[in-house]
């Protein structure tokens, strides 16, 4: 762990925090444009957060300390997970401490706490949200892990920096396992971020809601933290896909400052591209019934498993 890697790590942690609401704003604006609406301003999520932070918090009578502690812990674990994904440069200080499996598990911790908070107040909406969230997670998490297995088997490492550096090297051609893992990862990303075929981030009062029902009782600064965590999670998944499947342009450890600037620009371009793809996909597809979602996620799980098994079968024993 060199000072340079610590500097990169801290810069990265601050960059994801600063850019996450902007990404949400961009994806909303793009979606509105595709629907021929004018849409909100790009900076609207920042204003929303600021307004929520300044507002008074209303806590239900039946809420316990867990309800008030959960937003901080959820935000913290999502932030740490997002800081672990190499965005504009590899060679982060913390990647020597935590790999891709840890990132998946940290998101799992955040979801666990949020689901508990949904049950804490003791209302039917919170329970509904928690129950469905855990249902989706019970398929999305294994699917994600299977995609992770595929990548790690290919690269011979579970560390994201090494995977990214391996994939950018010329050693990998087009690979069927990689394609299957990409599809699985995209499905998981849609489900985990409560995007359209699974859940609708724009609705608030609809019986099909999942995430919004779970956080229904939150207000003020607590809600701001949860919204920020959701924005970070979207950024995390898009950065992850960019880092693994579009690994070009990312600065490697020890490169000159111009490479870091280039890496930053490349990262922003990749994010914009993926946000556009997301908006396009969301406007083109309708929302699913709740009980169709497990089938959708089951496809992701099967693709991930297939990708892993193909690698297991095709590898020659050493």
């Amino acid at each position: 762990m060199t000072p340079a890697s610590w500097l990169t790590q801290i810069a990265q942690a601050l960059a994801v925090l600063a850019l996450a609401p902007l990404l949400t704003g961009v994806s909303r604006a793009l979606r509105a444009r595709l629907l021929r609406r004018r849409g909100p301003a790009l900076l609207q999520p920042y204003r929303d957060l600021l307004k929520l932070v300044r507002k008074e918090v209303v806590v239900a009578d039946s809420a316990s300390w867990l309800f008030r502690a959960a937003p901080y812990l959820v935000f913290a674990s999502t932030w740490v997970a997002a800081a672990l994904v190499p965005t504009f440069a590899t060679g982060l200080a913390w990647s020597a401490a935590a790999d891709l499996i840890v990132i998946v598990a940290l998101l799992g911790t955040a979801r666990f706490l949020l689901a508990l908070a949904g049950l804490d107040v003791g209302t039917s909406f919170g329970g509904l949200g928690s129950s469905r969230e855990m249902l989706f997670a019970s398929l999305a998490e294994p699917a994600m892990l299977m995609a992770v297995f595929t990548l790690s088997l290919l690269a011979g490492s579970t560390q994201l920096s090494s995977i990214s550096e391996f994939l950018v090297s010329a050693a990998v051609g087009p690979n069927i396992s990689l394609a299957l893992a990409l599809v699985a990862l995209i499905i998981v990303a849609l489900a985990e971020n409560a995007r359209i075929p699974v859940d609708n981030p724009a609705t608030h009062l609809e019986l099909t809601m999942v995430h919004e029902a779970m956080v229904l009782e939150y207000s003020g600064r607590h809600l701001a933290l949860i919204e920020a965590a959701a924005a970070l999670k979207l950024l995390l998944y898009l950065s992850l896909i960019a880092c693994v499947f579009l690994p070009w342009g990312t600065a490697v450890a020890g490169a000159g400052p111009e490479w870091y600037a280039l890496g930053l620009l490349a990262w922003l371009a990749k994010l914009a591209l993926l946000a556009f793809a997301l908006a396009l996909f969301e406007t083109a597809i309708a929302k699913m019934r709740v009980f169709r979602v497990p089938e959708f996620l089951g496809v992701a799980l099967m693709l991930g498993l297939l990708a892993t098994i193909l690698l297991f079968v095709s590898r020659v024993p050493q």
Binding site: A96, A97, I101, S131, M134, A137, S138, L145, F149, S157
Partner: protein
């Protein structure tokens, strides 16, 4: 081996916690609990630690052993035999699924019994258990956390045991810098529980401080909003059954052949509507019940041997003797 050790920690913790709840409320059914976090805060804290640990979530110990298992799976393409190579990914997928389902299960267990509002008067008037039980539970919870943050020491301590059982053990971990664990090769995979825990703690503390400095401090207690339903009764909360229902419907309809029966009274009648859930344990019905039936039938046959004449017994003894002699001669 590490996983077995972890189980001994968090399983004991969870059993002690449920014992404390049983003692305090006299209720074994989760549907009669709720809101215990207000009445039994220390038990709730320890039980929560156990739930997070058993769901294999960082920074607790369950995650570390799951992580090590995954690392073992990821080196297994190097195995020479075909059958284990094909079985191992399936095992990995099953492990991942069961970890996620365990998380759902323990959200339900903790959420329904400790959170929400009390569903019975016993739960509403529950008292915290005695000091010694609390101390034991807190000690176990602390051990779960410590084994998750400093797994290297536990792995080293268990090395003689794995050496005896499977004839191999991981390289000593205590000499690794920064208290990290490295199962095979630092370039391949590293986990540092202490650093992950510190990162989460620092991030949470920074957030809390910033929010404290920037945000409004106002806090108001009010009845739950629940999208505008005023003063709902505790019976309108999600119950354990309703929490598990979607999962049951998705996974259980094949494995457990779960069927829901809804008996609605006809319009005008005043009887209550009933929703029943029927479950079958496939393993029990397909494997154990035929086995038990076969043993029963065999016993029925053999039963007749008890009512033979002395001549028949002598014949049996003689033929058994001849048979045994033949066997001895043949070998």
């Amino acid at each position: 081996m590490f996983h077995v050790f972890n189980h001994s920690l968090f399983k004991s913790l969870l059993f002690m916690g449920s014992g404390a709840v049983l003692n305090a409320t006299g209720a074994r059914d989760m549907e009669h609990l709720g809101g215990l976090i207000h009445r039994m805060p220390v038990t709730a804290l320890a039980f929560l630690a156990g739930c997070i640990a058993i769901s294999a979530l960082p920074p607790f110990n369950g995650f570390v052993s799951e992580w090590l298992t995954f690392q073992a799976i990821l080196v297994s393409p190097q195995l020479a035999e075909w059958i284990p190579r094909l079985l191992v990914p399936a095992v990995g997928a099953t492990l991942a699924c069961s970890a996620a389902l365990a998380a759902a299960c323990f959200v339900k267990a903790f959420g329904i019994s400790f959170l929400g509002r009390p569903r019975s008067s016993a739960a509403a008037t529950a008292r915290e258990t005695d000091r010694w039980s609390l101390a034991a539970m807190l000690a176990l919870a602390l051990l779960c956390l410590l084994a998750g943050i400093l797994p290297g020491f536990v792995i080293d301590a268990l090395a003689p045991v794995t050496q005896m059982t499977v004839g191999a053990h991981l390289a000593p971990q205590a000499s690794q810098p920064w208290l990290r664990i490295v199962p095979i090769d630092p370039a391949r995979s590293v986990y540092n529980g202490l650093l992950v825990f510190t990162m989460i703690a620092v991030a949470a503390a920074t957030t809390a401080l910033t929010v404290r400095r920037v945000a409004s401090h106002a806090l108001r207690r009010a009845p739950a909003w629940d999208c505008g339903f005023p003063e709902p009764s505790p019976a309108t909360q999600y119950t354990a059954g309703s929490f598990a229902q979607p999962i049951l419907r998705v996974f259980g309809s094949v494995v457990f052949r779960a069927r829901e029966h809804l008996a609605m009274p006809r319009p005008g009648e005043r009887g209550a509507a009933r929703l029943g859930v029927e479950l079958h344990d496939t393993l029990w019905e397909v494997f154990y019940q035929p086995l038990a039936a076969a043993v029963d039938a065999l016993a029925e046959r053999l039963n007749r041997l008890q009512f033979l004449t002395i001549r028949n017994y002598l014949t049996l003894v003689f033929s058994a003797l001849v048979l045994l002699l033949v066997v001895v001669a043949a070998t």
